[in-house]
């Protein structure tokens, strides 16, 4: 492993997302390379910052606020349902008319 590969995988390594073989390669490289060890420390510090963020929880059920906004929904059918809901003869008759209109 070289420094470039190490840099590419460092976040996954610190996050524990690498498989054991790749993780051991990262470990071996960090043992031998001071600048990559520094990079590893920086990534751990960054991860620590994210981990220190407060829990975010929604304190209320949004349905009560949302329900009134859903009243004005236009009636719309699924596109495929709309497309195939006309009888085939009607579609055959109306298709040329529609193309003329364009």
């Amino acid at each position: 492993m070289n420094c470039r590969e190490f840099e590419r995988e460092i976040a996954d390594y610190v996050a524990g997302r690498l498989n054991p073989v790749d993780a051991n390669r990262m470990l071996a490289h960090a043992d031998a390379c001071a600048s990559c060890r520094t990079l590893e420390q920086e990534e751990r510090a960054l991860r620590q910052r994210f981990a220190g963020a407060p829990e975010v929880t929604l304190s209320t059920d949004l349905w009560a606020k949302l329900a009134p906004q859903l009243q004005e929904r236009p009636v719309r059918r699924a596109r495929w349902l709309w497309r195939w809901s006309w009888p085939l003869p009607s579609r055959m008759v109306l298709a040329p008319v529609a193309s003329l209109a364009v």
Binding site: E42, G52, V56, L70, R77, A78
Partner: protein, 200 residues
């Protein structure tokens, strides 16, 4: 609004209905199905949007906007991706618009409740208060730095570090290929580190 009962509407059985089945019902105007989808996703979307926008007040409004858009467009969903991915993509689009609008009106960031300093303090109250202030400051710096990045960089970092999303999920939400995603994430990380280095 048409209210059509789901096939099974007891509390437990409703949870067994897949997201896809719910969406088909929503497309047909079933508000019971809509309510169930809201119950499933309001928490995760609120968390994601709070992290992305850096404001819990804006996040709540954004979640409401997401669900309104789902209600209006459920019939257009083509079931090529997971419903959850679609929801996060809508959330990202809405958050991006809100963030752009917010740039025009600087505002006080609202901290999540856990950092509120008015809670009764037990034990060594002074130390605890100092720790809270320190953590709140670190979080403020992080949110400020995230806010200076472009939307795609911020999205990737929020998904990776806060949501612990897989690369597959991140690809589906961002629309980036695996290779591009890895490169952009790496660069976003470097930019974030540089910004945090300037602040601290």
């Amino acid at each position: 609004m048409t209210a059509i009962d789901l096939p099974e509407t007891t509390r437990d059985s409703r949870r067994e209905v897949t997201d896809e089945a719910l969406l088909r019902q929503i497309a047909a105007g079933n508000d019971v199905a809509m309510q169930e989808l809201v119950r499933r996703y309001q928490g995760p979307l609120y968390r994601f949007l709070t992290r992305f926008l850096g404001s819990s007040d804006d996040a709540e409004q954004a979640v409401l906007n997401v669900f309104v858009r789902v209600w209006q467009n459920a019939g257009r969903f083509e079931f090529r991706s997971q419903v959850s991915t679609w929801l996060y993509r809508i959330a990202f689009n809405i958050a991006r618009d809100m963030h752009a609008a917010r740039k025009a009106r600087p505002q006080q960031e609202s901290l999540p409740e856990e950092y509120a300093l008015c809670d009764p303090l037990v034990g060594n109250a002074e130390d605890e208060a100092m720790r809270r202030i320190e953590r709140a400051e670190q979080y403020r710096q992080l949110q400020e730095a995230l806010g200076q990045l472009n939307e795609m960089d911020r999205l990737l970092l929020v998904l990776y570090y806060f949501e612990d999303s897989s690369y597959e999920e991140m690809q589906n939400i961002s629309g980036l290929s695996y290779k591009v995603l890895k490169t952009r994430l790496s660069r976003a990380r470097q930019r974030l580190r540089a910004l945090l280095g300037q602040e601290s």
